[in-house]
């Protein structure tokens, strides 16, 4: 078995997410079972072990597969699972599907020889949109009353963020997301936007809207531990800043119309799906920014005329798949704004069988 080096940033990220999983189980009331977490991690690890063995005839520690499974279980919730149902396998098929699809996207959607989408992000978006609000929902934006447990969670996220981001040089990317995102969400709050959530009576507006959306620990986890994946983020510093800002703009644009927490969470997740699909273009733009004026730079390294490039792209299944995902994710997320089922679920009006 080939083990990762001790400096591998994936090990740091795993340590932080596992710490948050433990807090979620013990003091934060996360509605996910230990069995769901372990199965998700196990499926991710097994798939990566098998794929790596088939390609390299070597057993390599499946650090990425573990992270994908852990990331899916961190955010995905199956209706009917409660905190304390430690060994419940309720809705386990949804966790397995999300992890399998995450890794399928990693291995098959590789338009430039590099996977395009953040695996756990695209798996979560798929699961939440396609399986739907009757069976699954994302971890709440609100992690509980402002008590010691939430303070410890914030500390783990922020210190863990510094620990994880430093070696991969993603701090500017995180800032380029968080600042415009906070400004835009603040503007929405000031303009009277509100949302409803199962854990709150009545609409959440004003300062609470800003705090629950822009300052949510969920958003920090999204930025610091999902967007920061160096495999799917642009490589250059300028590209990373564009990537962070673009994700913030797309997220805010999708959030504006959402009246429910489910929709807001999907808006945040889908924004990364869209922007990951644009990373090759962002990298080309970043190269142009970094190039001396007057020097020609070919787009995506392809010198063919545009019509030929488009025909070639249409014949490339990976590009077509990426296009479908990049278009369907924001469109279906936007459609959640008018979804009466989600509104009734978030208002708690579907009776004892309420999905959340």
């Amino acid at each position: 078995m080939v083990l990762p080096s001790s400096g591998d940033p994936r090990l740091r990220l795993s340590a932080v997410i596992m710490t948050l999983h433990v807090l979620g189980q013990t003091v934060l009331g996360f509605k996910v079972s230990i069995a769901q977490i372990l199965v998700s991690i196990g499926v991710g690890a097994l798939i990566e072990l098998a794929v790596t063995y088939r390609r390299q005839r070597m057993l390599v520690w499946p650090a990425s597969g573990i992270l994908t499974g852990s990331g899916v279980a961190f955010i995905l919730r199956a209706s009917g699972t409660d905190n304390g149902d430690w060994w419940s396998l309720n809705g386990i098929q949804f966790f397995v599907l999300a992890v399998v699809l995450s890794l399928l996207s990693k291995y098959f959607i590789r338009p430039g020889g590099r996977h395009l989408f953040n695996p756990s992000n695209v798996g979560l978006v798929w699961a939440l949109l396609v399986i739907g609000p009757n069976h699954v929902f994302p971890q709440y934006l609100w992690w509980g009353p402002n008590d010691a447990a939430v303070a410890v969670a914030y500390a783990v996220i922020l210190l863990g963020g510094v620990w994880v981001l430093k070696p991969v040089r993603m701090a500017p990317m995180a800032a380029s997301f968080l600042v415009p995102f906070a400004v835009l969400v603040g503007a929405f709050a000031a303009s009277g936007r509100s949302f409803i959530a199962i854990w709150h009576d009545g609409p959440i507006g004003g300062a609470s809207y800003f705090l629950n959306v822009a300052m949510s620990p969920e958003v920090l986890v999204f930025v610091l531990f999902m967007m920061s994946d160096p495999q799917t983020a642009p490589r250059a510093r300028a590209g990373r800043v564009i990537y962070g800002s673009a994700t913030a703009l797309v997220a805010a644009g999708l959030i504006y119309f959402q009246p429910t927490e489910f929709g807001i969470k999907l808006a945040i997740l889908s924004s990364l799906t869209v922007v990951c699909a644009l990373v090759p273009l962002i990298e080309a733009a970043a190269r142009r920014v970094g190039q001396p004026r007057g020097e020609a730079v070919s787009t995506l390294g392809d010198a063919r005329p545009l019509p030929q490039r488009l025909v070639a792209a249409a014949r490339n299944p990976a590009i077509v798949a990426a296009l479908i995902i990049a278009v369907a994710a924001p469109l279906n997320t936007a459609a959640l704004a008018g979804n009466q089922q989600v509104i009734l679920i978030e208002r708690g009006l579907t009776g004892e069988a309420n999905a959340q």
């Binding site: 396609v130 399986i131 009757n134 369907a328 459609a335 089922q341 679920i345 208002r347 009006l349």
Partner: protein, 278 residues
């Protein structure tokens, strides 16, 4: 192809996802507008069309027909709503035997010795009538069980001159979900009535509406810490409904309305009462 299909399913095109994976909400159906099927229990102040709704109530019994007589007869036709879960005949008789049949049914709904009283059940819906074979006096009440919300107009007395809306409040969640508005009226004759508007509480059997002296109870233990009074049983858990406050209860002495479940000793939801705007 699989991706395109899942994208279409994610959009729930043509209700594809609901059909394959089920829906969080049932099909929209018209709400009931009265506690009686023909609306005779309601003297509406405003005639309203039944609203379509996906909300569901705890199943409740709506009166369909009341029949009484002495000796054999066949009742006038009546209709059991297609949406009814089941229907029942609550019977009483004085002497001899009582046999009650639906024309198309092989088994009688009631076949009993009198005097006595009980209930017979059926699940057939649509137009029907009852053939009664009896030797003495009898009474039958036909009721159908629905789970749609009940949206009654306000009682005429609530809008009559001299009536005052004294207090009002919005429901908040305690142990279960609860939404809507409660208003307590002092009627012109000095009695009191309570109205729930756009109300929903997590369904359960045998819920009760209580008045509590607490301003804003947050937990069942807190609610139980001081005595409360029952205003009425809450058989319908969704919609807009009227209740008369029993004589001897002065609502002005209480500061909140609590939906109480005596079966499991749980305060489901509450509303803090504040003076109503004139």
């Amino acid at each position: 192809m699989a991706l395109a299909a899942s994208a279409a399913m994610g959009a729930n095109l043509f209700g594809m996802r609901d059909r394959l994976l089920g829906s969080a909400t049932p099909e929209a159906r018209p709400a009931a507008v009265s506690r009686t099927a023909d609306g005779s229990a309601t003297t509406p102040t405003v005639i309203t069309e039944p609203q379509e709704t996906v909300l569901r109530s705890q199943p409740w019994w709506q009166r369909v027909a009341t029949l009484e007589g002495s000796g054999p007869t066949t009742s006038a036709p009546f209709t059991i709503d297609d949406a009814a879960i089941q229907w029942r005949v609550v019977w009483r008789c004085e002497s001899g035997n009582l046999v009650v049949r639906e024309p198309a049914a092989s088994e009688p709904l009631v076949d009993a010795n009198c005097p006595g009283g009980d209930t017979g059940y059926s699940t057939e819906t649509g137009p029907t009538s009852l053939a009664v074979d009896a030797a003495g006096p009898w009474q039958l009440q036909v009721e159908q069980q629905l789970d749609v919300p009940l949206v009654e107009p306000p009682l005429p007395a609530m809008t009559a001159p001299g009536t005052v809306a004294e207090t009002t409040g919005s429901f908040y969640r305690m142990d279960q979900s609860g939404t809507g508005v409660v208003t307590i009226y002092r009627l012109a004759d000095g009695s009191a009535a309570l109205r729930l508007d756009d109300f929903f509480v997590t369904p359960n059997v045998d819920l009760e509406i209580h008045l509590s002296p607490l301003e804003a109870p947050q937990t069942t233990d807190e609610f139980l810490s001081v005595p409360s009074v029952e205003v009425a049983p809450l058989d319908v858990t969704a919609g807009s409904m009227n209740f008369t406050v029993p004589p001897g209860i002065d609502p002005s002495r209480y500061r909140s309305v609590v939906i109480w479940c005596p079966l499991i000793d749980s305060a489901y939801a509450a509303a803090t009462l504040v003076p109503a705007q004139p």
